[in-house]
Symmetry: C3
Subunit: 261 residues, 3 copies
Amino acid sequence: MHALAGLRAQLGQARPLVVCLTSPVAAPLTAQGLSALGAVPVMPGHSDDLPAAVARSDALLINLGSSDEARATLFRRAIAAARAAGRPWVLDPVGAGGGVWRTDLACELARMAPTIVKGNPAEIRALAGQTAQLKGVDSLDDVASALAAAEGLVAEPQGPQALVITGPKDACVGPQGTQWSQAGHPLAPRVVTMGCTLGAVCAAAMAVSSDSAAASGLLAAQSFKDAAKQAGARAAGLGSFISLFLDALDGAWLEEQGQGL
Amino acid sequence: MHALAGLRAQLGQARPLVVCLTSPVAAPLTAQGLSALGAVPVMPGHSDDLPAAVARSDALLINLGSSDEARATLFRRAIAAARAAGRPWVLDPVGAGGGVWRTDLACELARMAPTIVKGNPAEIRALAGQTAQLKGVDSLDDVASALAAAEGLVAEPQGPQALVITGPKDACVGPQGTQWSQAGHPLAPRVVTMGCTLGAVCAAAMAVSSDSAAASGLLAAQSFKDAAKQAGARAAGLGSFISLFLDALDGAWLEEQGQGL
Amino acid sequence: MHALAGLRAQLGQARPLVVCLTSPVAAPLTAQGLSALGAVPVMPGHSDDLPAAVARSDALLINLGSSDEARATLFRRAIAAARAAGRPWVLDPVGAGGGVWRTDLACELARMAPTIVKGNPAEIRALAGQTAQLKGVDSLDDVASALAAAEGLVAEPQGPQALVITGPKDACVGPQGTQWSQAGHPLAPRVVTMGCTLGAVCAAAMAVSSDSAAASGLLAAQSFKDAAKQAGARAAGLGSFISLFLDALDGAWLEEQGQGL
């Protein structure tokens, strides 16, 4: 649990502010997950307030879930503000490889120099123009099959600095090569929007990092695997797993009280 | 618990993809409920991508909660796509009998040949043009008072193939008559969006069924009663009930691990 | 736990209908929190149905989280309907003091004679035109620093009847002066949208009250502190706290069953 404890210590001290543009289905778990780790989520609405909100923040998450044209306009404004202010930003290309509109949007944003792209193998393949096999927004492609696509994206001039490809073990691909997380727990990928929450935590990790994007992505990914293992050891199914997972992210609180597990 | 175990086995094997157009308040529980049972939820946004998403899916849910004109346009496009592709679709006429706009929309969609309409007694009465007594989106009418309305709707040429009327015991009304679920647990109707989640599970049940719409609706309804009983036996209130209910839907996971209750 | 038990008894008997216009991230916890206490939440969408929905309801919540121009138009229509029908309404000025658009909107609505304004110290200061220190939508100002602002707002002709200023101990400011809640539990403010849920419960409390707005706000605030203490005594982190908090609000159910804690 070194990754999780380390990330929690960093986030709990710095309390980074993460602007999250995400879907209604993902918003609650994303917000509680960030807060459990010590980060501060904010989910702004009106476009006039958005550039200032991003400039005041420490990182930005763009999640394409349930998006439409109006939302895409917000995404572009927020990304421009993040880049102008030098803030790290994470793209979660939910559903890329599915609908044409969504795939085109994801490909466009992935070339706006995101700090990290966090996606499943099918989504990452779709960003590179490769065929992608999805069921809904879940990937039927395996992580290894997306490594070449990720390496190609990192090499593009306006491509991401690093990619986190989620699977049984997550791959973190940066200019220095690929590193792998350990395994988590089989209940984790069955929690809808668990991956969305990881995207937000990648943004939080970047906000407090003095390390590379790839290292921050790996820290976030491994922390989620650690928390999933901890939660899975006591869960009786998907419901209790969600609750125990948030408790595991929030170990800081017990530690502060001298009641650590 | 035969219904729940049976539905879980079917969904876990087929893993049907269910496109859900639902409200922000219902989206999280609906998504986790489907996933706990083995189905795969997807909640698309942009209208250009929607027809293809529906065509790729196994079933469609239309939930009228918190809807407006823009949303109604999405509903109509999705329904047209489902009918063109021969996919089952479920209408949850949330709030029919309340506002005039909502009631008119519900009545319109209920005549587009839905596979199943799942609603409370007041909503079903409103669809048939009868007076309805609601408190917010909850029914003050009882199930028996909506049976004639349901029978009339089933007899209409473009009406639903079957209706699930929710109450202490749910009634499933089809062309062959009415069947009743057993009772569940009094905490279940107090969980907001529990009925919305059942609507989505009716769609999932239809996707894997070789039986009639009425039989699929009854299977979904009885499964929810089974899970509610299981959860209610150990719950200390509404919070733990939600968590235990998702665990109960997700019995498959424990069974696979040889750790069944 | 006198406040919590008292509020629960009142709400469980009257079952007031509370129209909630709130953000996607806050909607699920707000809905379950109201229901756990015995109130009936409804979250309407289409603007044509909104005035009638408010007129049929017992109270209205306006929460500015994630809002935009379209949403602001709904807010103004709902407020007009509440005032025309003589319904109490609560303003939760989420993020006032942050973006200019949001702050202007909050200041405008706070002068439409809300029954209660529930906000953190920074938001209350912003409503009075004072400098506000926020991190996202969290306050860096303390409760005492916002008392003068609250007193000034209560004295305005179209200002709120009372304000609930949230902090380690909440202050309830009315024309008769200020009263304080007792302390709750440190996990409570870390649950994102806990304050949003309190805003909705202030509206529910007003709906059943024969007392002043300040007394109703204090009852709601103290009830949340009571529930937080009860939940915090057994929580292992943010996840289990949320579940236990809803159970604590829902003590009525156990009491009815003769299984009280």
